[in-house]
Subunit: 333 residues, 2 copies
């Protein structure tokens, strides 16, 4: 379509999410008392002696719900998506709100399962589901908002990584990438038990809230982000913000994913890098603090995994191969 | 459709919003430290010496956007919808977040107008637009969350009205009801100027934030709600929660609405009672405090209007006629 100026009219679909966020940031007046900069996983502001941390994340059934996912899982997911952003700041969740757009034909039984999923997940993280809004919509749409707190000086940020810093993560990757192949591309049947485990793990994600709090209190972490857009995107984003590169030697891949990939002739590392919708933390650590941090995690029965090192040279290399951003970045989905 | 039990399967469409909220309330673990009870306009909790007030409200274009409304207006509306709920608690807005579901074909120019509308409205109320989330969706969906603060002992509640209390509102009603007739039922053309003014007022609503703060600080107000579901619903809800009735003698109707109604053979009082999407506050006041409160409002160049009195006898009567809840309550929209 030709606009009056003779120029092609630009539409949302022609922009990446990153470009749209840049447009927003150029139009918005951001408060100076901010604890973390605009465009971070969550917003954070001082309120008395605490920093209040705020984040919002929307789930649209046509793009975010895999076939077979039950409403109880969906309720869980909308909380986890939001709490993962709090975890990336090291914040403790306090309250959760959820606006819902619900199709009129939804059985009330399913609606109850949705509410139970939200409530039990908020409770699991010692927080409360405190408010919402009900609307009619053509497809199921949930918009969550999470409110948490962190000591202002302890809030983790996306910026701060230095060359030589260790790159680490809180868990294994690949479940969601493999589940997508199983459920959407129907690559299945060769390894039933393994496939069932992969789908189960994908339907029951958890946010690394406790890990985030330990990381932030350690003062060992120089930058942190969550992996909700996929490990490759998280690494790319973190490297770019910090003007550094990452040399990744080891990506923790779930055993079932390796097995599944072998049976179906898929690359396990690609499943781990480009999956998305996984809620691990990806962060950099001062090298001299690594052992102490690892020990602290062990004491709290949590785990972190060293995956590589921060480099002066830009770009993200996984086992010598540069990550393929064409696979990672999508145009506005 | 018959469920396995032989019983008709109950669906969302068979319930009112009120009934759905009751279902949620029966399934949710609500925190004890709450400053206002579950199901109020907003949630409020003590955080240090302040109460933090939280609310979320979703706008779905197919049901909430009138023909002719520009994206700048829509940006304004999603902020006002949420800030009106803060105003009903007497809270001062601090931060606004907005998750957006955006159709891929949206011109980027419109997207920018939307962001500008949100940002300038947040600024207008001395607050900040601090975060969001972008998603693709078939229709435009905005989910806003507002965060504000109020002194815990000053937060206004829905419950507290006593017989003899004065019933009052912050402004005129009827614009939205008339705009609906003009834009959706095409009842127009007889009073062009008046119709334009009605549509303009409807497209540019404001939240009664300043009024809410004055009301809450006065300690004269015994109960408060906003009128976003329409004056009739607000009065009914407030009466029911308090186990009282209201005798309404005077409903402030915008002059243009009276004129428009006369020309089109419509009932101005029905336009005012059943319109909805208007953001006035509806509240009850201790009778001995009324004059002082009115004076205080005048000093701040704000207005309140006495519309009736609280009665022991239940039911809401407007000029001797009981309000027609069939017109006010909708099944899940």
């Amino acid at each position: 379509m030709i606009a009056e100026s003779g120029k092609l009219m630009e539409r949302i679909r022609d922009f990446t999410e990153e470009q749209l966020i840049d447009i927003i940031s150029s139009l918005v007046d951001y408060p100076e008392e901010s604890v973390v900069p605009f465009g971070d996983d969550a917003a954070a502001f001082k309120l008395n002696r605490e920093a209040i941390v705020l984040t919002t994340d929307m789930l649209v059934s046509s793009t975010d719900i895999l076939p077979g996912m039950k409403l109880r899982h969906v309720g869980r997911k909308i909380v986890v998506m939001n709490y993962s952003d709090l975890a990336a700041k090291g914040a403790k969740p306090l309250y959760f709100l959820c606006s819902m757009g619900i199709p009129r034909e939804t059985p009330i039984k399913d609606f109850k399962e949705l509410i139970k999923g939200i409530n039990e997940t908020a409770k699991h993280y010692d927080s409360f589901f405190v408010g919402g809004d009900l609307n009619r919509s053509d497809e199921l749409i949930l918009s969550g908002t999470a409110i948490g707190t962190v000591k202002p000086e302890k809030a983790m940020k996306r910026r701060g990584a230095k060359p030589e810093d260790i790159v680490a993560v809180t868990g294994f990757f690949g479940y969601t990438g493999a589940a997508y192949k199983i459920l959407m591309e129907e690559k299945r049947g060769k390894t039933i038990e393994v496939e069932e485990k992969i789908v189960e793990e994908t339907f029951k994600p958890r946010a690394r809230v406790k890990e985030g709090i330990i990381l932030s209190e350690s003062s060992a972490v120089t930058s942190c982000i969550d992996s909700s857009d996929g490990l490759a995107v998280s690494l790319h984003t973190l490297a770019k913000i910090n003007g550094v590169g990452f040399k990744i030697d080891h990506v923790p891949i779930a055993r079932e994913v390796t097995e599944y990939a072998a049976k179906h002739g898929l690359s396990p590392i690609d499943l781990a890098l480009y999956g998305g919708e996984e809620y691990e933390l990806v962060f950099t650590v001062k090298p001299e603090k690594w052992l102490e941090l690892e020990e602290k995690m062990r004491e709290e029965r949590r785990k972190i995994y060293m995956i590589g090192v921060t480099t002066k040279k830009q770009g993200v290399y996984v086992k010598e191969r540069e990550i393929n951003l064409r696979m990672a970045w999508r145009h506005f989905r």
